[in-house]
């Protein structure tokens, strides 16, 4: 199908890229239908709202820059997206990109979890105090290297 995206304008996507968020995400509870798109640059992705082309979130796989990341979330949240097997559970962090793009941050405290098989997603909240909403990606990548 064809959708309007913030990053790429009008594009064609496959059904498997359509993800339903039954309760939206925090602050955007009315946005239930999204498309998961590869960004032009790995390892980023876009979570594009199908309702409003101007609303799209940059996502990154947290393990890419924090190999020690642990997804510690309530079992209920995993159940709410259909209890995916480990291989079908996708974990992403929403990225905030300020004026100076090198200072971009990732929200590790509120991960986005997606059941790749059922194409269901939600935003969860970490039970661990270790993660906050603003991890500076470049800094933490360099620290890990």
């Amino acid at each position: 199908m064809t959708i309007d995206s913030k990053a790429f304008g009008r594009i064609s996507i496959e059904d498997k890229q359509l993800i339903r968020f039954p309760v939206g995400i925090f602050g955007f509870e009315d946005l239930r239908n999204f498309a998961l798109l590869d960004a032009q640059q790995a390892p980023f992705y876009w979570l594009q709202s199908l309702k409003d082309a101007q609303i799209a979130f940059v996502l990154i796989n947290p393990y890419v820059f924090r190999s020690d990341y642990v997804l510690d979330i309530p079992e209920d949240d995993v159940r709410a997206i259909g209890s995916p097997e480990a291989d079908d559970l996708l974990v992403f962090s929403i990225v905030t990109i300020p004026q100076d793009r090198r200072l971009m941050t990732a929200n590790l405290q509120g991960p986005i979890i997606i059941n790749r098989k059922e194409r269901l997603g939600r935003q969860s909240i970490s039970l661990s105090q270790k993660w906050n909403t603003r991890h500076v990606i470049l800094e933490e990548l360099q620290r890990g290297a």
């Binding site: 498997k16 390892p43 405290q109 935003q123 909403t133």
Partner: protein
Amino acid sequence: MLVLARKLDQRIMIGDNVEISVVEIKGDTVKLGIAAPRSVKVYRYEVYEAIQAENIEASRTPAGDLPDLGDLLPPDSGAKGS
């Protein structure tokens, strides 16, 4: 919003299985005890607010080139995605 005044050691029942008690009152701080099944999530409100605020901020990302993480990335960072 239902507003109830409680004294030290008094309790509130929410639904069938959530219990809140006033455990300690010290100066301007009230310590609350929350007894609930593991399936009921309990968070400090600031955490909700912070995540909501961060989502709103993140939604403002202009389209355009994303930073190139290049050589900093570990190998095989294509990872799970589409």
